[in-house]
């Protein structure tokens, strides 16, 4: 398999990243290397193996549905690059 810079460009777009021509080419080679290595997983027959989603077996962690203290709005907004005291501000979307 050979990953093309075009494929990387598509993936970068999905990940909301800009990449220069050189970056795309370098990344295509590196990803190709890594995926070639990862292909060794295909040596194993995993047809009947259940995938691990969680390292230790825990069931749903429920709690009472009650309101508890949380961050006050001013603190939650304090790291916002642009905010108006009530909400984060971004350029008009619609």
């Amino acid at each position: 398999m050979k990953i093309t810079p075009q494929e990387i460009s598509h993936v970068a777009d999905l990940a909301r990243l800009h990449m220069s021509r050189e970056e795309l080419e370098a990344m295509a080679l590196q990803l190709d290397d890594i995926l070639n290595y990862v292909a060794k997983l295909n040596e194993l027959d995993t047809e009947s193996v259940t995938p691990t989603t969680h390292a230790i077996s825990i069931t749903n962690a429920f709690r009472e549905d009650v309101v508890k203290p949380s961050l006050p709005r001013d603190k939650a907004l304090a790291n916002g690059p642009k905010q108006n005291g009530e909400a984060f501000v971004v350029p008009r979307v619609i």
Partner: protein, 486 residues
């Protein structure tokens, strides 16, 4: 007297006996930082005023006799754990000015036990790396030889402990990031069982693998820190509600009746002969302490790097979607559409390795590839976990190397991501299976660089692991050694 060289347990006795005050101790460590930091470069953010204020409060508590188990002890914290009011960068430009509005639960617990926070230490950006060279603010150095890497990603934690720029540190481990730098810097580093320590406020890299844990000067200190940071947390639904024992009590028993497995697959081709010699000596010490040594097999270990470099980037690509220039972190001010804000902020804010992993993860999860990569990797993850289950039916702990080689020179492997990834082959499986692992100093290379021995145990068997580590430490008797030329 060089107070900064001492351990938590030695200093706690001195503080309790009023032989030294917390302020004197903190001043001494701050002076040490001033003396060596321009060579070690462990700290990203240092807060001397805050630390001294906190030390004064500790002295008041010590006087009243109400001081907690870590009262007055100066700590460094990996810059990936949120600290209320103290900048937390994750080693990234995108969070260069981020000041968290709350403490991570592990930090709440350290503070409640009386710890004095000195500041935040260096790391690979978002904990992605094995050398700490992926830190946006420059790499920390190995205190044993500052031409060498200190390991990563908790490199600043390990370096600051080894250089006596703190008494102990809190780091995190997603694929070896506590154990590997501990090994390279000659300190003790423990990755607890997944779910033993709350991840609340630990900035997420790979949520199913991340775990916070201690880096300390000896095994006793490690146990003391585990007593404080372990336990269930309602704010982390993956933390486990299981009783926290007094880990220090477990230490001093001998190893009679303990079965130590030596996984054949960990003595891989490419294992440095000096590492192998040191580790074999360590294993002999365990035998002398009464342990029975048996060879065991973990047949799927060879696949762990391939599994990890799908699972971890997949989780990371999702976790790092939150850095969008909207709610916190860097925003590119020149962008005038929302999409441009996302793209420009992320492209400027993230370094190369973080981008690489986001691309790998996004690719592996993207339409048409999910089954081939993520699902396949998660299935092999199950096989790796089952290997451990099987060996722990007959063994109490496993002993092995931590890393295939001692530390290497800065910049030596920076352009070859795959060869760097492969250097994690002895530590990654513990994260995939969720089991605990510790690195304990067991020797030195001919170049004078430290070598660690890894002990792993089954889920929540930290007591067994610490007992074996303590016995090893007593017999090796090298934990008190410090870099000479610093």
């Amino acid at each position: 007297m060089s107070l900064h060289r001492l351990t938590i347990h030695e200093l706690r006795e001195m503080l309790d006996g009023r032989q030294v005050s917390a302020v004197e101790l903190t001043r001494d460590v701050l002076q040490r930082i001033e003396k060596v930091e321009d060579r070690v470069k462990a700290y990203i953010t240092l807060d001397p005023e805050g630390a001294l204020k906190r030390a004064e409060a500790s002295d008041a508590e010590l006087k009243k006799g109400t001081g907690g188990p870590l009262c007055g002890i100066p700590f460094s914290i990996k810059d990936v754990l949120c600290t209320d009011g103290m900048r937390t960068t994750c080693g990234s430009r995108i969070l260069e000015n981020f000041v968290p509005p709350y403490d991570a639960t592990a930090i709440v617990k350290l503070k409640a036990a009386g710890a004095v926070l000195l500041g935040k230490v260096s790391m690979d950006e978002f904990a992605m790396g094995s050398t700490s060279e992926n830190c946006a603010f420059g790499p920390p150095r190995n205190p044993w030889d500052t031409e060498y890497i200190c390991g990563g990603s908790s490199g600043g934690s390990a370096a600051s402990v080894a250089a006596d720029e703190c008494i102990a540190s809190l780091g995190t481990d997603t694929g070896g990031s506590i154990r590997q730098p501990a090994s390279h810097c000659g300190v003790v580093g423990l990755k607890p069982t997944y779910g033993r320590v709350s991840r609340y406020g630990l900035v997420a890299f790979a949520s199913s693998l991340d775990q916070a844990g201690p880096l300390t000067k000896d095994v006793t200190d490690c146990a003391l820190m585990m007593n404080v940071i372990s336990g269930h947390d309602a704010k982390d639904s993956t933390s486990v509600d299981q009783k926290v024992p007094d880990y220090r009590i477990a230490l001093t028993e001998g190893l009679q009746g303990t079965k130590v497995g030596i996984p054949r697959e960990y003595f891989i081709k490419g294992l440095d002969p000096e590492v192998e010699t040191a580790v074999r000596q360590g294993i002999n010490s365990l035998r002398e302490a009464g342990a029975e040594i048996v060879e065991v097999s973990l047949p799927h270990n060879d696949y762990c790097v391939a599994v990890y470099y799908i699972v971890a980037p997949a989780e990371a690509s999702s976790n790092l979607a939150r850095y969008d220039g909207v709610r916190y972190g860097f925003r590119d001010r020149s962008s005038d559409t929302l999409l441009d804000i996302y793209k420009n902020s992320r492209s400027f804010g993230f370094g190369d390795e973080v981008k690489r992993r986001i691309i790998i993860g996004t690719y592996a999860l993207s339409s048409g590839y999910y089954d081939a990569y993520y699902k396949k990797a998660s299935q092999v993850r199950t096989l790796i976990t089952e290997d451990f289950k099987k060996v722990f039916e007959t063994c109490d702990v496993l002993a092995s190397p931590v890393t295939p080689t001692p530390a290497w020179k800065l910049a030596e492997k920076i352009d070859d991501p795959l060869s760097l990834y492969l250097s994690d082959i002895l530590t990654i499986s513990a994260n995939l299976a969720g089991i605990p692992g510790i690195s304990v100093p067991c020797g030195f290379s001919s170049a004078g660089l430290p070598i660690g021995l890894q002990i792993q145990a089954s889920h929540f068997q930290e007591e067994k692991l610490l007992r074996a580590a303590y016995n090893l430490e007593q017999r090796m008797n090298i934990s008190h050694l410090r870099p000479k030329n610093l």
